[in-house]
């Protein structure tokens, strides 16, 4: 009941003209960025972060959050029409979405994707409303040892879950830790790894790093791909032809709810995110769905499962982000960085200390979800034109935004140089299959990890047993060990299997 009252007051914040405009603008941009193959929510949020400098923190985060969840809507469009997911969470959507396009039912697939995204998103936001404060209350019981163990667990699981090779994920996570140790040590005042540069005294600047890693590296990747989707030239889409019949909606409702709840649960886990959510939902649909035998051949329930889950997961990722300060995905890590940039400290106290902000954001997600649903339907007739914007035009424009955006953070060319180097490094990482999202998560979480770690030791007079006395911290430590050891064991098993097959 208390949550509902707070949510209502949040609507008061969200319904101001500037916040409403921010949600609409973010929604529009999110859909467009999501629909463009190759660009994702991370790139979109990273490039638009500098635009929020002048905004009030609530307005800024409302816009960035709208970009994030609108991106989940947009990502399905290119997956359905040209078999290229706009973002990784839409990979599973392409499995049934594109066959539907080949059958001449592209409109139906697009409507299913938007409808399921809307319902999935709504489930996610309702659960966020209910679970957010509960998680925050649990978080209040966490002392420094528990917090340090939780952050370590988040870092380990993220490295493990992202990418095909957990070891590479762990290495990039360590790179994130390394970058975070640059600058003046916040507690002891020691200057570390600045190489004599005044610009590095306050540490590595977050926005140029993000723009370089996710914007400029994307520009470098886009140089290698050309989009001339000739098959789209003869495709014409209308809203009327795209609408689903009552019986069709009825048939996907159980799938949407099932996948929505599952996706939301996955979204709550650190590192799992929307991609894993849609993957699990699709697997579940294959096991229990009414049309499980035809899944992958072009059925709307396949699109519905993937889309409901990835939107629910995107909303779910906000719960640990706001209540515990633990981002559930790379984009959530950028949002966390943005929050800290505005002086807000996500964690259990945020619900108490910045209640207006938190509930304003949650309320804006309800409104934004409706706006994005309407926009995603209205945009259907224009999608073919949107997807045919040449990459050749987009690349120099994104490069320009990368340079200008990183300069505008501190009005310094140093940041532009830093952005460029970060972009090259990220491109090399991507080329050799090193996931870069864990690096960002580690970079954002390390200062808090270092602080809580020190506090825990100070409280125990330097006795490490503090991490094993608390059942919560101990649970996280057991999980950390399991996450680190399991890839080793799996590799050993696979090697043994290979050897036995060879012999």
């Amino acid at each position: 009941m208390e949550n509902l009252q707070l949510l209502l007051s949040g609507f008061g914040t969200a319904l101001t003209v500037q916040n409403l405009l921010a949600a609409i603008f973010g929604g529009l941009i999110g859909i467009v960025v999501g629909a463009m193959p190759g660009l994702g929510s991370l790139t979109g949020v990273a490039l638009l972060l500098p635009l929020t400098f002048k905004m009030d923190p609530t307005t800024g985060i409302i816009m960035l959050a709208a970009i994030y969840y609108a991106n989940m809507f947009g990502g399905s469009f290119s997956a359905i029409l040209i078999n290229i997911p706009g973002d990784s969470p839409a990979v599973m959507t392409a499995l049934d979405g594109y066959p539907l396009t080949q059958q001449g039912r592209a409109g139906k697939a697009l409507f299913t994707a938007s409808f399921s995204s809307f319902i999935g998103g709504t489930i996610g936001i309702i659960l966020l409303t209910a679970l957010g404060p509960v998680l925050a209350r649990i978080g209040l019981a966490f002392g420094p040892a528990e917090q340090a163990a939780l952050i370590l667990f988040a870092l380990t699981s993220i490295g493990w879950l992202l990418g095909d090779d957990p070891l590479k994920g762990l290495l990039t996570t360590t790179f994130g830790l390394m970058l975070a140790t640059i600058g003046v040590d916040q507690q002891l005042g020691q200057i570390r790894f600045t190489f004599g540069s005044v610009n590095l005294l306050s540490g590595v600047s977050f926005i140029p790093l993000v723009i370089g890693m996710f914007g400029f590296s994307q520009v470098m990747e886009m140089m290698l791909c050309k989009n001339d989707y000739d098959e789209l030239a003869c495709t014409k889409l209308t809203i009327k032809e795209s609408l689903l019949k009552g019986s069709e909606i009825k048939s996907i409702i159980p799938t949407v709810f099932r996948s929505g709840f599952l996706g939301n649960f996955v979204g709550l886990l650190p590192g799992a995110g929307a991609t894993t959510g849609s993957f699990f939902a699709y697997i579940l649909e294959k096991k229990v769905g009414r049309e499980r035998k035809n899944l992958g051949k072009g059925v709307i329930s396949g699109v519905a499962a993937a889309e409901a889950a990835n939107n629910a997961a995107a909303a779910g990722a906000f719960a640990p982000l706001l209540a515990l300060g633990i981002p559930g995905s790379g984009t959530a890590a950028v949002l966390l960085g943005g929050l800290m940039m505005w002086g807000l400290r996500p964690g259990p106290l945020l619900f108490k200390e910045a209640s207006d902000f938190v509930w304003g954001l949650i309320a804006s997600m309800y409104i934004g979800n409706v706006i994005v649903f309407i926009v995603s339907l209205a945009i259907i007739p224009f999608l073919v034109k949107l997807l045919r914007i040449p990459t050749a035009i987009l690349t120099p424009l994104i490069a320009v935004i990368c340079i200008v955006g990183s300069y505008s953070v501190n009005n310094s060319m140093f940041d532009v140089w830093f952005m460029l180097i970060a972009g090259i490094i990220a491109y090399l990482f991507k080329t050799f299959d090193y996931p870069i999202a864990p690096l960002l998560l580690a970079f954002v979480l390390t200062p808090r990890l270092e602080q809580t770690f020190r506090q825990a030791f100070e409280l125990s007079n330097g006795n490490p047993a503090i991490f094993f006395k608390s059942p919560i911290a101990l649970t996280f430590i057991v999980l950390i060990v399991a996450f680190v050891v399991s890839p080793l064991v799996l590799k050993m098993f696979s090697k043994k299997k290979e050897l036995s097959v060879k012999s």
């Binding site: 635009l51 070891l167 360590t174 120099p396 340079i403 300069y407 009005n411 532009v416 972009g423």
Partner: protein
């Protein structure tokens, strides 16, 4: 064909040694009853070395054409653009960058390139200079 790519782990080992040395020798591993400023750098150094050695032990399948020259064109353009910023300022440089990129790299017509370049420049000027009031460098020419 199998070939080991060693760039990332080898560079990581170099960073690892550097972080480990400074963590232990310069910043102080322990301070009173709690970790010192060198504690995390030491751990980071050890982890970088450990994970890198582990990666080096595993063979990596060579990907033909993994690194292509064309991917580095934006880097060259950006470097030229930095020189241009010191001469004609940031806003004009951005416009020139878009025009020359489309003309030379993407082989667009002069008309299309100039129109796109002007639109990009106007967008940057309105959003960043007027709205966000970012004081862009004006270069030696001192315009914009």
């Amino acid at each position: 064909m199998k070939k080991r790519f060693r760039y990332v782990p080898i560079i990581s080992i170099i960073f690892g040694i550097y972080w480990l040395y400074f963590g232990l020798a310069e910043y102080g591993f322990w301070h009173g009853t709690a970790p010192g400023a060198g504690f995390f750098p030491t751990i980071v150094g050890l982890m970088l070395i450990g994970f890198s050695v582990w990666i080096l032990k595993t063979p990596v399948v060579y990907k033909p054409g993994a690194l292509q020259k064309r991917a580095f064109y934006p880097v060259i353009v950006a470097l030229l653009c930095f020189v241009s910023i010191y001469l004609v300022g940031l806003i004009i440089s951005m416009g020139l960058m878009v025009i020359l990129w489309l003309l030379i790299i993407e082989k667009y017509s002069i008309f299309q390139s100039v129109i796109t370049g002007i639109c990009a420049t106007v967008f940057i000027y309105l959003v960043f200079r007027i709205w966000l009031m970012v004081p862009f460098p004006k270069g030696l020419l001192g315009i914009f």
